[in-house]
């Protein structure tokens, strides 16, 4: 019996060494991944309102007839995420829950405002279908034009002082997070950050 246990112990040690080596190889690959894959960022096209500019102060009425204030210093230190979308854009659709989730986990608080333009009925149906009636939903063509939104989904992050902190075309969660990351690092966009780092 003691022989069997000794052998079992020996085999076990060999397997543990094998496992440890495998874990080592794995961590090496993870390390390589970290090094090779640079952060992706939201694409910032030539925008009308540049990062660092104050966001134009706009008083608008949303789809649920509530007044919404965009721009200007916020009273409760919260930031604003303007998310431009359209009911006919499939990427906006899939990104919508992510927008909410990301906004909810961000500190300090982020107020999400959805923005679009078109006929109210179409948007009311969209809001009901997606169950997003708790979010302010603004229908205003001038709002989109103010920020020079050409492609959707587009997001603008406005900081607590009413300054545009980051903006860009967002197609994935990474793009969206890059807006917050850009604000934290105090750069206009992740592309700028990478360029600076390369210098």
């Amino acid at each position: 019996m003691i022989d069997a246990l000794l052998i079992s112990n020996g085999v076990l040690w060999l397997l543990v060494i094998g496992l440890a080596l495998t874990v080592l190889a794995l961590t090496r690959q993870v390390g390589l991944l970290h090094e090779r894959i640079s952060p992706v960022g939201a694409l910032s096209p030539e925008a009308k309102i540049k990062v660092g500019d104050p966001a134009p102060e706009l008083a608008l009425i949303d789809l649920h007839d509530h007044p919404v204030q965009i721009g200007g210093a916020s009273k409760d230190e919260s930031r604003t995420l303007l998310f431009f979308l359209s009911p006919t854009c499939p990427v906006c659709d899939t990104l919508l829950p992510t927008v909410e989730r990301v906004a909810r986990t961000e500190v300090p608080r982020v107020r999400v405002i959805l923005a679009s333009d078109g006929l109210p009925d179409e948007h009311r149906a969209f809001v009901a279908e997606k169950r997003i009636s708790h979010l302010p939903y603004i229908l205003s063509a001038p709002l989109g034009m103010t920020y020079g939104v050409a492609k959707l989904p587009y997001a603008v992050l406005i900081d607590a002082n009413g300054i545009v902190a980051a903006q860009g075309l967002v197609n994935t969660r990474e793009h969206l997070e890059s807006l917050f990351e850009a604000q934290r690092r105090g750069v206009a966009s992740i592309q700028d950050y990478l360029e600076e780092k390369a210098k």
Binding site: A4, S8, I37
Partner: protein
């Protein structure tokens, strides 16, 4: 002198390995033929017969390893076969042809050639050689059975992990260029 538990563990592990390898080669014979051709070590007329014989040899070794009287013969046959594979891989690595598929297992899991495959085959050859050593006789108890089963399970999982690593490692190298 090796312990019967060590012998049985290695023997079953190798049998499983050869059986899996043979099965994958037979189930996708067309592709395996192409892979043998891609190694470009054989004249074209020899490629097809070799692609047929190799899985057959592997299957025979797998069965031979399980059946005690033919065990050492099968282990003895496994050594040159594995050495042949290793030389074929080393030759293509020396030519700098890393991108061709190893052809070791299923076509769904393409593994490009790398020095890790040489190390892996080296370990397999050592394992086969260990089977040729004289075996100590002792009565086997239930603990031994558990040891063998657990060893086989762990080895299978480790093998799968290693296979994945060999697949993703070279893929990573392409990413962002070679340093």
């Amino acid at each position: 002198m090796i312990d019967p538990v060590v012998e049985l563990s290695i023997c079953f592990a190798l049998a499983l390995l050869f059986a899996a390898a043979a099965w994958h080669k037979v189930s996708d014979r067309v592709r395996f033929g192409a892979t043998v051709g891609a190694y470009s070590l054989l004249p074209p007329w020899l490629v097809s017969p070799v692609a047929r014989v190799l899985p057959l040899l592997e299957a025979c070794i797998a069965v031979g390893l399980v059946y005690p009287p033919t065990r050492s013969a099968a282990a003895l046959a496994a050594v040159p076969l594995l050495t042949l594979y290793t030389i074929a891989i080393a030759a293509n690595l020396a030519r700098g042809r890393r991108e061709i598929d190893c052809g070791c297992f299923a076509s769904s899991a393409r593994v490009p050639l790398s020095k890790w495959l040489l190390l892996r085959n080296g370990i397999l050859i050592v394992g086969s050689c260990v089977l040729l050593l004289p075996i100590r006789t002792r009565a086997l108890v239930w603990v031994d059975g558990a040891t063998i089963v657990m060893t086989l399970t762990t080895l299978s999982l480790l093998w799968a992990t290693g296979q994945r690593l060999a697949q993703t490692g070279p893929a990573l190298r392409h990413f962002g260029g070679v340093r």
